[in-house]
Symmetry: D3
Subunit: 333 residues, 6 copies
């Protein structure tokens, strides 16, 4: 069991039932989530002592976000109350050939608009072994970009391992801006979620006709950032909004690992699948699983996430191990 801190925005997701368009629906389902919050919950499920730092409005929606964290065993002492509103987005559920469709309404949120850094580093990192944050946080504002750099630096200063998920979102910032920020952040990072597209478009790794696979890109990124102990990323084939194939990859100590193939069909809810994977990797690393076991565990966690509604993975370590053992779809009774 490790003491872990994650920090980021937590949002309200309002989603339609399958087969109903957002402009026709009379009802929306409420879920709360965000990359770092989802990772926090997964790690709490795996038995770690996890805190999540964020800022939410001091109203019912902010309370609901806090209750969601607590219910899932995440400590909310560093969730500051205040500011204007909770970031929100609407998701029209996809199915078959039709992809899910997102309508963002996240501008002006309490978190994104925070004018002062809400915590002291001393308190945040006291006793913490691992700190996780993502590129989404850095993308929210110039202020948050700067704070993200400061946070990873401070974490290192306090002897905390740093986990970073690039999680590039084209709607939030340009590739150039992201690349610039990453150059400042990654030198302080220990574990990094980054794939071939990140390597090419954000980190400037040149395409190489002879070396198109993940290994090449991991090697190139490793050269740029020798401080990073592991990279990991997803190879997803999207057959349709209901059917995906999932293979996850891990680069650890200059060795490449790839999980077994998971056929996810039907997909209940894809949101948070990457966060479940990241948390699985972090749990494997913390628990000294070997590379293969780490990537299998993390992939299974991600596959299971696809079978439940909501942004966060809701499976314990034991359940994931049983899933890996039992194979697909058999009832135990």
């Amino acid at each position: 069991m490790a003491k872990i801190l994650t920090l980021g925005e937590i949002m309200l997701r309002l989603s339609t039932d399958i087969g109903v368009r957002l402009n026709e629906t009379q009802q929306l389902d409420c879920h709360y989530g965000g990359g770092e919050a989802n990772v926090a919950i997964s790690l709490a499920n795996f038995g770690h002592q996890v805190s999540f730092a964020s800022k939410v409005p001091d109203n019912s929606l902010g309370q609901a976000a806090v209750k969601h964290l607590r219910r899932n065993g995440v400590m909310s002492d560093f969730v500051q109350l205040g500011g204007a509103r909770l970031g929100t987005y609407y998701m029209e559920a996809g199915i078959g050939e039709r992809a899910a469709s997102v309508t963002y309404d996240r501008a002006g949120s309490s978190f994104a608009e925070a004018a002062e850094f809400p915590w002291s580093y001393e308190k945040l990192f006291s006793g913490i072994e691992l700190f996780h944050i993502s590129g989404i946080t850095a993308a929210l504002s110039v202020q948050w970009c700067q704070w993200t750099v400061e946070l990873v630096k401070a974490a290192k200063k306090f002897g905390v391992l740093v986990s970073f998920d690039i999680n590039y979102r084209g709607k939030l910032w340009s590739q150039a801006a992201a690349g610039k920020a990453l150059k400042e952040i990654l030198p302080y990072v220990d574990y990094c979620s980054a794939g071939d597209l990140d390597a090419r478009y954000l980190l400037g790794v040149p395409e190489d006709r002879m070396n198109s696979g993940f290994v090449y890109y991991y090697q190139q990124m490793q050269q740029q950032f020798p401080n990073i102990k592991c990279f990991y990323s997803t190879k997803r084939i999207v057959y349709s909004a209901s059917s995906n194939q999932l293979v996850e990859t891990l680069w650890l100590e200059n060795t490449y690992y790839e999980s077994e193939v998971h056929k996810i069909n039907p997909i209940v809810d894809r949101v948070g699948g990457g966060d479940a994977f990241a948390a699985g990797i972090l749990h494997g690393l913390i628990s000294d699983f070997d590379g293969q076991r780490t990537v299998e565990f993390a992939t299974a966690a991600s596959a299971l996430k696809h079978t439940v509604h909501g942004d966060c993975n809701q499976f314990s370590e034991i359940e994931i191990e049983q899933f890996l053992t039992a194979g697909s779809g058999r009832i135990v009774r």
Copy 2:
């Protein structure tokens, strides 16, 4: 049948089921409404040809608002698409002793933030007999306050009757600001929804121990604004969130009318009750009902509104007449 224009903001209301708190709910019901939109729909139900002018974002939520108007027979040609977001609010349903509780998330809406006036007066008022707008619109921004004044002036210039509902909301502007605006607006108004509290706190009518009733305040307002042909207002006794008593009052041609008493219990949805009343009054005036019939019709419309979910009244003129005839609660079969 008259040609009518109303103009204002239309918002998304997300509400909980009865007995569920907003910070606990997993699901929200969607309704679309706003004072002027609700009045438009009521008047369309009564057989008039009604247009609604507004601005909504060019996304699924904006489309949903337009579809809501169309479904209810209101023309949406003057609904401009664009801007950042649809004004939103969350309503935790009240019941019994516990009042409904509103969490606003309306700042920064496409309508409120409109930088340029979206229409030409010529097109807006072409062929229009009656124009309805409310104080909420004037309260949204300095810009909208100025445009509201210009709109009522333009309406008069085009020979259009002007209906104005003060609809004071303390969360949007101060009494002083509202009072100042009303002094500019009311000289151009023909029909005005305004009650004793509006008279005292916004229009500066002095309290008079000997004359505490509605008649006194109507007389005083009539003196201030001799141009106004009728005032109307609600006398509501709130026993609980589920049980109200409703009496509506009308001041028309220096005569005071008061409706029969309606006991509303249980209340299904109170939102839009005042708009249903306003639309009922306007329909009576347009249709040359006498004062008593006008106020009874309008009160019945408002009472019926309380029995349905959603912001808008969904009853036709015939249904309201039958309701007035049949009395309370008997099945016809």
Copy 3:
């Protein structure tokens, strides 16, 4: 325990949720019922062996009606399959001041259009002690009017007690037609549900200023039909669609009985309240309860019916007795 037969139409009721208009609803609740079917189910709940005779289409809706009967312990051997359709009606739920509103779609049903009488009297009445039928059946067609007369005659011939519920529906036949039929039917009836309005408008009992109460009308009907052993009827005060006061009355062996007052608030579903009352009276008569116990039992049965969705009463004799003992609304735990 008695062997009982009831005969009539069973229909599909499609009803809205509270607060939603039929022209707005996206969903309808399904219930199956009809006067004689509801009486059959109540009597089966009270431990009698009850058959229901009817005709329904040989499709899923007909099957659903049969399944509804069986689930509630009523034998469906005399439910003939065939014909065009199941009689249907839509009910917009009422609440508060707004009454429920019914949209009929019952014309052309398998039952109403039956061209030949579907059973032999010998089989129908074999072993039967009590036969119950209502004026609705007689009103469905000229054919059914004639068959109703023949049925009550045949019942008497086979030594079966006859129970008849006038249940006048102005939408199905005129007062004159109903009155004419009743003159042919009532001479064969033992137990009759008939009230003051039936007496005046269908049976020609003259109004008498000095004798406006139920006793007078019961006496007058008793004089016309000395064969009838008991009359019973409801005194309902409708405060609103959600709040009624219920007092039930019984005329038995020239004595008048009146139940205690039941305040029904809120009403969950009023449909079938009269049938629950009728079944309660019949159970009291069969079980040799005295007059007062009979009317109290029947009224309690009717009051409880108002607290459940669906057309039929779902309470056993023991539950009704407990309800009479416990008084209103206390949890036993």
Copy 4:
């Protein structure tokens, strides 16, 4: 943007949830639709000015049908109110190996029983560029068969393009009757939805062992009706109620076009898939898309229809174009 008229019956569909049988369900979902109404809505979504002519009862269900049209941007001025009832059908949702099952209750509807033709041709066709009607309308009664012939003749007289969807339903009329009617109708038709089965069984095209494909049948039909500018039809492979493969075909100016293959899995709601395709073809023709783009657009429209509940397609031209570009099932965020 074209001015378009479609004419036909609109019905109420009451459907079960997946996995629940009609004879077990306690709840039904309401949808409104019909071939010509669905085409009207699709075309309104694509930006055309569309009127729908029909007849519905003057009750809540008739109003609901009108509100459905209006919500979706279709003008309802030619929807006459009156007659006995709204045609209805019950659909038990299919899934996997089990097909959906339909229980019709459409006889005696206001539309089918219309005794007099409800409109004047002058008003109906005033300003109209395209008129769409289907064989279902012709099949409803001898009267409607005759009126359908008159309608297509009148349309031509008024210079209106005529679109006709054969839409043969064996439950409504025989192949002989349909064939006879088609011989009278098709000489006035410009665009015709007709496939190989229609050609063989209704239009008497002989089977030819050497020419079993769509091209052969289109050629043969083209010979019979040289006036028809285009034929189109669906090649659907039904793997199960949940999984279909869809290829659409078009015969335009003696050239055969075939869409890409769409794998529809899972199917949310298949009803109206053909109407969505027809409307897509008409939009392509009106918009002067070339043959291939027309058939791809129409097939995409039909594929998307399968992903939403309800009879009508709910996607705009832009959404369909984006769908064609994006490929299957990817979230944009």
Copy 5:
């Protein structure tokens, strides 16, 4: 039509919606079922006169179980009321790679704890042609194991055919205990559901490398129990919780039959699939279908069961025959 008796426990199943974990759900669906009860209902659907013998508590849940039986046409005269509680289990619905997960809460049930045998054999078997019971009943207690042996003996004594479904559940008893009981039971059995695993692990049939198929195991079991007229069993391939392939096998008069392949995707509810198959086999045997028709009918019944919620098959003989004729997934309209 045969007179049939089945005997066993009926339980309450409380299940989650798809995509919701049991520890997160706010709502559970209620189904009632059990192996022998499910077989009873299937056989009643096929037109037989079926009684079910059991014991349930004399409370609302016991009543609900009885109502479920009655609704589906099963006679409940032998359902004794009494004892402590209804056996219950919670099912977290599975989907895709994630299997359903069962939480049992069945200990201490009225049935399992029955201290005295609740019926007389004379009454139970009076007029009965076929008796069906399963190994689950024998596994519930030492008492029930003994009673099961006595029941099959008594059945034979009364000239009743005996059907037995081994239905081994490792959570209820050991392989050794089951094997011992089977040795006592099977000599009195006519029809037996038993597959290769039962043969190997319970009946001690040795593995044989050269004979790994069903035929070998059926032959071996037939040698052990020459009294048994037929064996049958399922060959299920579990691709995932949502997708299975089903082939059913039958050993009848020393001949092996195998059904066509059914691809079940998606699976709505797998519970009771085996009972539907067993009932189909019994119906074929009773109805003198030949072996192939019997196994095809039974497999189709089982396949259809997978498409509906709830433990019991809800399809009639006609529907199953139509399904076999129509093939997969086509709408008839």
Copy 6:
């Protein structure tokens, strides 16, 4: 803010929707609660640091109970996992004249059957200022009765204030057994929920014709147990299951306080109303409110509890204060 411990059983409540009988329902709502757990949650809402000690099974239902506590801010470190099952009860919702009806299925629960005391007193009471427990715990078994006595003694030994709610349940133990236990427990109690019925039937206070009020009984109990600092109890008038009048009473330092009258209509969910009151009293005492403010606060908390579904009060101190200020049922917007 105080550090508080409560200890008791937490159960699963499965309840029907209003108007649906338990033996008819297809769906049940899940709530988790128990007297001491509910008090814990209320006190956590009021800002205290609260732990709850209990034992639940190590399965999904046990996890759900823990998640419920955590969500509401209660620490679950003392919730032991293990044992057979979670105590369960079914509640048929009451309405109007019909009371709710409870079907218990709580026997054999992990908590009730605990064979060894699961905690050390040192750890339980470390740093605790207030300990709350109820008579329900003492009633569960002879073992728990003994442990309850030991717990209150140990609490006193560790200098912890002891709060005790008699909460007599006739279904769990006799008045004699309860009285005997209370005589051992109450000498160690500081705050005690006990009313006139408890005084008479459990503590042997004689009836006194001249002194029938609460003051008399409080005085008599105070004499018996001079160690108790305050008594409190509810005066509830049950008009119906939907309408109650609530007055709460408090005896503090020999002074009697009575709250204002709350008319609760309609009641959403009465379960836990007494626990909300108890927690309100405890909060007032901890916070040094005076007697009147304490009883008003506690009564308001209880009144608000009646307006939400679920066993626990969900209102913060601020919300309760606002409720007391605002009066009944007004929207703030």
